[in-house]
Symmetry: C2
Subunit: 278 residues, 2 copies
């Protein structure tokens, strides 16, 4: 991963909410789309791109840099992330971008608005991902593309094999399922695209990984685990549903902090990817 690319914190800007989410870049989280984006840009520099579930906007900003004559719209269902996304764009000096509230279930755009519609770690959280894909296709122009990349959380490999870390995995996977999502999205993307009615010949399937194996990368991953264990909606949901207790959370968080300092520790996860030609 490329932790050096995390946007800096500046006075007057909304604070970093998740350093882990801000390590996501167009290069490390949308590599399967970039060659296609490059070839589309050559024939049409003013591409319009939609990033669904943009979060803190680091991937969207990466797209905007790659499309200096184009325009990027980032949407997120959670309006509280939007100020930080706008700050990330400002820090990067990117102006061909806007962020607004919006859900993948009902995208606030007319049919055939965008040349490229993209999402990352969105379909894994929704109940009918084929409907979400259909909605992404709806707002995409004919001749445009829809691209998605989703983690396959069940492939998460954490070494060494510490029980408290496995418990975190089980807890998060259970919460994903309880929320109507799945922890095996990566392997199901092709299946979902076919169920959305897309012809097989229009779908390119690929896969790639995230890896955290250096001290600085491990600390970012560990922090990304500790933060939601210590406060926030994941913790609240787990408590409400009886999946964990207060003590469990602190034990898990401490285990992640210890893991980050182990010299041979690594975390890797496989992601599934699709690229759909409309």
């Amino acid at each position: 991963m490329e932790q050096d690319q995390i946007p800096s914190q500046k006075p007057g800007h909304p604070p970093v909410q998740s350093a882990l989410l801000e390590t996501r870049t167009a290069e490390n989280s949308a590599a399967h789309l970039l060659p296609k984006l490059q070839s589309m840009k050559e024939s049409k520099p003013g591409l319009r791109l939609l990033d669904v579930g943009a979060g803190p906007g680091t991937i969207s900003v990466g797209f905007a840099k790659l499309l200096p004559d184009g325009h990027v719209t980032g949407i997120d269902v959670n309006p509280r992330v939007l100020p930080r996304a706008r700050a990330v764009a400002e820090i990067a000096g990117v102006t061909n971008i806007e962020f607004q509230e919006g859900s993948v279930h009902k995208l606030p755009f007319a049919d055939e608005t965008f040349d490229v519609t993209y999402c990352h770690q969105v379909l894994t959280h929704v109940g009918n991902p084929w409907d979400a894909l259909r909605e992404m296709l709806r707002v995409t122009k004919r001749g445009g593309v829809v691209a998605a990349r989703e983690g396959d959380y069940e492939t998460e490999c954490v070494w060494p094999d510490v029980p408290e870390l496995s418990k975190t995995h089980s807890l998060i996977a259970a919460l994903m399922r309880a929320g109507g999502g799945t922890s095996t999205a990566g392997r199901q993307l092709l299946s979902w695209a076919l169920r959305a009615g897309i012809e097989r010949s229009r779908i390119t399937v690929s896969s790639s990984t995230w890896l955290y194996a250096t001290p600085s990368d491990r600390r970012i991953w560990a922090q990304g685990m500790c933060d939601p264990l210590r406060k926030g909606s994941l913790r609240d949901k787990a408590l409400q549903s009886g999946l964990a207790t207060e003590d469990n959370f602190e034990d898990m968080a401490k285990a992640w902090e210890a893991w980050a300092e182990i010299e041979d520790a690594t975390m890797a996860m496989m992601h599934g990817e699709i690229l759909v030609q409309k």
Copy 2:
């Protein structure tokens, strides 16, 4: 994967023993080494490379093509695979290569013989992989590199989730463990390299995937599962150890054949990689 690159069968040549193994190329199975190989070649065109556990030789032959002024030695602990490896080289028109019998536990070469020493899917099968890495380091020149890529079989994602396919996975994982190996090699490579006494600063860790998602690729993967279920040492060992019965094997093989024909079926697996600078 790149099934088009399987060497063809020619009259008078030893037959293909495993089409699945022959889909392995330097490009799809040693991508983490290739940029380093390229830069080393630029300053020293006559590089000597050792491929440990070469099997049918397709990866070794790929290296030999990339090193037209260099020389590749492929070794395998099983001498019965060597005629096919030599045929693969002949079919490719590659002459700067030789294959011989040899074990990673005691490599039949003097200290500091090779510029590059590589292995793929070898350490996952041995009991003390750190000793094997030390042996690979021994035969590597100072300033040279040791590279390894090992599957992490527990990340195998097969979709759809058919019980007979999961049984095959459990059987193969159990046999790997029974044979002294592990089904989680990919995530342990850094740990093993450190245990071999290599300084962390000399180790680059990476990860990549194999994906089978098209009909032709799926048939190759399924055939690669069916063949050892229907005859050979895997089947014999499973019967001897009581891990499976005759009926089990045929049920599993038929499930793989059916799986290959399902339109939304996919198989992906994560691999761990290390590149060590000696």
